[in-house]
């Protein structure tokens, strides 16, 4: 028998699994709050209670919301990303400088989390991947024959940035982190530029979907 978490109530209601606990938490956070075992246990306990129901399917609403995090109470971003795309003389030096600036913060965050990091899907370092992105942009090329590398490199780069931005202890509002990455960092701008090129290519447009979230793409369009 199964029980579990539902993040999109409407999807679960249509598919009718035997038992599901719908939670109001953000996508990506099915147990609600990182680093809070008591909160997570309350969610799990409510989902396990569904096993005792006599009839199903059961779709129950969990009544507790994840705590709101006020942006002004979250630790400040440790790096200032002031440069505009129009100020960039070359992607290579710009991305190199940005990754170098973030590296000590990423190292600090990794030590705080006792060595835990999500970086490492790609066989290349974060810096080498950044320089390859810069090459693609400067040479107006797409990695047609290297899509497997490109997917892993995108993932590694994004988690490197978010782990560096959240290096200091504290609770972070995830939409704020996304906003910093996609609207303030040069890497975010580089990925959006590549996303646009992928979107314009008939053979690769489907791949564009895994490069940047819909909210970042629409936000970039509004800014231009």
């Amino acid at each position: 028998m199964t029980t579990g978490i539902s993040l999109i109530r409407e999807n679960t209601a249509s598919m009718q699994p035997p038992r599901a606990l719908w939670v109001s938490f953000p996508l990506g956070r099915p147990l609600g709050k990182p680093g809070d075992p008591a909160f997570q246990h309350r969610v799990i306990s409510a989902a396990l209670d569904l096993l005792n129901r006599n009839d199903g399917p059961v779709l129950e609403d969990y009544q507790e919301d994840a705590p709101q995090i006020e942006i002004e109470h979250a630790p400040a971003c440790p790096v200032t990303f002031a440069k505009k795309t129009s100020d960039i003389e070359g992607w290579t030096e710009a991305l190199r400088a940005e990754v170098e600036a973030l590296k000590p913060w990423h190292d600090l965050g990794r030590r705080r989390k006792k060595g835990r990091t999500l970086v490492g899907l790609s066989s290349l370092s974060v810096m080498d991947n950044a320089l390859k992105f810069a090459d693609l942009l400067e040479n107006n090329e797409l990695p047609v024959t290297e899509l497997k590398w490109f997917k892993a490199a995108l993932e590694d780069t994004k988690v490197f940035y978010l782990e560096a931005i959240t290096a200091q202890p504290g609770a972070y509002e995830h939409t704020y982190i996304e906003q910093i990455f996609w609207s303030e960092t040069l890497m975010g701008k580089a990925m959006l530029a590549l996303h646009e090129r992928f979107s314009d290519d008939d053979g690769l447009s489907a791949f564009a979907r895994i490069m940047a979230p819909r909210s970042a793409v629409s936000g970039a369009k509004k800014r231009t």
Binding site: M1, T2, T3, G4, I5, S6, L7, I8, R9, E10, N11, S14, M15, Q16, P18, S24, F25, P26, L27, G28, R29, P30, L31, G32, P34, G35, P37, Q40, H41, I44, L48, L51, N52, G56, P57, A66, Q68, K113, G115, R116, T117, L118, G120, L121, L147, K151, A152, K158, V159, L162, H174, T175, E178, A206, R209, I210, P213, R214, S215, S218
Partner: protein, 155 residues
């Protein structure tokens, strides 16, 4: 908090395309023993695996086994979707794959035991039916592991 009505119209429309009819006839097994005797496995669709495992492809119906005695802090995520938060998982693996919470439940006697192997799929880019053959394979392995109940987490 996130409710569908709080999201943009475009996001709502996209997520509602994921509504699907039930897969096959409804399945319902009534529990006839106490939860504190059950053997549990965790299954997530978060695209988790260890760093030296094969990463999930762009669209991928395969699964990765996660041994119960390995260090879950070494898990990484190669989910194809970019439309959900990953910072919480980067901070705490249990937010998505609550293995430490289930070990605590086992140690407190609130569940019976934990499976030797847990599983991760990657839920993006494919219709649910594409996962059927691999889901059947996992079900067989869960039976072999004498698992009574599965706790499912999406992402």
């Amino acid at each position: 908090m996130v409710r569908l009505k709080d999201l943009s119209e475009a996001e709502q429309a996209h997520l509602l395309t994921k509504n699907d009819p039930p897969l096959g006839p409804s399945a319902w097994n009534r529990l006839n023993q106490n939860i504190n005797t059950l053997r549990f496995a965790l299954i997530t669709t978060a695209g988790l695996h260890f760093r030296d495992d094969l990463a999930f492809e762009f669209a991928d119906a395969t699964f990765r086994p996660i041994a119960g005695d390995e260090n879950a802090d070494d898990l990484v995520m190669s989910h194809s979707s970019v439309n959900f938060d990953k910072s919480g998982f980067a901070e705490d693996v249990n937010l998505v794959f609550p293995i430490e919470r289930f070990r605590e439940l086992r140690d407190a006697g609130k569940i019976g035991s934990l499976a030797d192997i847990h599983y991760s799929f990657m839920g993006a880019g494919l219709e649910p039916a594409a996962y059927e053959a691999n889901a059947v394979q996992v079900a067989g392995m869960l039976k072999q592991d004498k698992v009574d109940a599965v706790f499912l987490t999406p992402v």
